[in-house]
Symmetry: C2
Subunit: 312 residues, 2 copies
């Protein structure tokens, strides 16, 4: 079982409108809502890839009830921890097929000190029996910036490897706890390291404590900087579509490889990166975050080009 | 007591963002939610003007619970009728002080035939003891287009005068039931009558069954076409601000005048229009729909210019 952690779960709401006109009123044609947050999307992809998963994190209020109902409807195992505040919404406004969507991300409910302590205890129980833990996304107000640091420590003490996908201060604060695998995108990498070169920036994260760094480069694939060597993995074709959720699909594939290897030093990197590039690109071809087009994934698996130097 | 009816109640949510950029992701700085829908706003203004009110209409689901909680917190008497569907939200995106807000209006829950019949029975009870009934806003999916017609008939049978503020097909379908006072804006008037001249269009509504028509002309005030004569009421100054809710404030003042007169033929029109113009303009000066700046209202009362011809 792979445990995904989403501290700032969300109800992802999509509004379909005829056209987006700033400073005007819009009649919303259709309203759809589904459980979201990066870790939830990772769990959806892991499940579709055939892996057993559990979803934990924080949830609360009437919006939280809708999140939990959708998890149940999606067949995802719900180990979320209840808090008093109302779970946030994200609103994605889709205006026909014209351009990318416009997204509004609410900050999330304020989490109390006691609620955080209770979640830590709940998480200690949830980690038992996990083959890997995935820690994804932003941190709601009130949760300490060292949250991922503490969650990684708990997993490491039980011998469970961790994948971290966050940015900014929570990413920096987590590195001394030695996450096994960190997956920033190029912008997040240069933001936290202030180094423009992606490879050099990834090395900095390893020096600061990360076991391996896999940087996502959008349509240009992945760069892995690991204790076993460096690899670049490039998709055989560029797909157009919805880039939301491609990063979560990539994290799902990497977490599956890490869970199988038990240890980050035993990961078959060329194989893991090929799967990660194929499923990310297949996620771009699917309309919703957490989904991917399996025919596209199968087709791309054969065309991903991996280039690199193994140290062994 | 003045009864306000809001068939499509809403949770009015306001998102504050740094700037609105179409096709981009936005971090929402603050999220505020309050009970809304035009009849709820009318009830807020009536209460502030010192009138006893009750709020009825349809509400449901977790969003409906938030609406009811906010009504209670606002001291508004809740006579809403519960339905199974989830009450809609409106999302207003405010980007600093740059331009008007951008608004997304969800369509509202689908209301079943049986739910509508149950509401009619509930409404028959609610109308007892009302001095006036205000019928405001859009109609949720599933509610018959003749809904306002039927609600007006019920009130008329009990001798309770009605104010109607809606548009399109529900407005047209209601006129044969003889609403005592109809308040369209100029655009709504020309849309339903296909007559560009506001005065002529208002006459058409009276011919079709409306007792009196008060057309709102935005910053240019009001035009009243009644059985007692025609009046134009113009504010002494033009105010800048938030026009959302100005129409609801106007309806509140007109409903108060109608409730006091008992009969639309006894309304003191110059006085009623003066109050309606002053409170509408004072609503423009307030940030939220359903509120007005009382100092502005007091100042404007003395400066409204009313011009007209009484037939008596």
């Amino acid at each position: 079982m792979i445990l995904t952690v989403t501290l700032n779960t969300a109800l992802d709401v999509t509004y379909e409108v005829d056209g987006l006109r700033p400073h005007c009123s819009h009649r919303v044609r259709t309203v759809r809502g589904r459980a979201g947050g990066k870790g939830v999307n990772v769990a959806r992809v892991l499940t579709a890839l055939g892996h057993s998963t559990q979803v934990t994190g924080l949830v609360g209020g009437p919006t939280g009830e809708l999140v939990r109902a959708d998890l149940a409807a999606s067949g995802l195992a719900d180990r979320l921890h209840q808090v008093a505040g109302d779970t946030r919404r994200t609103v994605t406004v889709v205006a026909g097929d014209v351009g990318d969507a416009t997204v509004f991300n609410e900050p999330g409910p304020r989490v109390g000190e006691r609620e955080w302590a209770e979640f830590l205890a709940h998480y200690r129980e949830s980690v038992r029996g996990a083959q890997a833990v995935v820690l994804s996304g932003s941190v709601p107000p009130g949760v300490p910036v060292t949250c991922y640091h503490d969650l990684i420590r708990v997993a490491a003490a039980r011998g469970v490897p961790t994948v971290l996908d966050t940015s900014g201060a929570p990413l920096l604060a987590a590195l001394p706890a030695h996450p096994d695998l960190v997956k920033p995108n190029a912008a997040e990498l240069s933001e936290v390291t202030r180094v423009a070169n992606t490879g050099q920036a990834a090395e900095r994260l390893r020096e600061a404590g990360a076991g391996a760094v896999v940087a996502s480069l959008g349509p240009d694939g992945l760069l892995a900087v690991t204790g076993q060597g460096r690899w670049r993995a490039v998709p055989g074709e560029h797909l157009l579509g919805n880039p939301t959720g491609a990063g979560d699909a990539c994290v799902a594939a990497l977490a599956a490889a890490l869970a199988q290897a038990h240890d980050v030093s035993s990961v078959d990197w060329p194989r893991a990166l090929t799967e990660a590039v194929a499923v990310s690109a297949a996620a771009v071809a699917a309309p919703l975050a957490g989904e991917y087009d399996d025919a596209v994934r199968e087709r791309l698996l054969a065309t991903v080009h991996v280039d690199g130097t193994s140290l062994s």
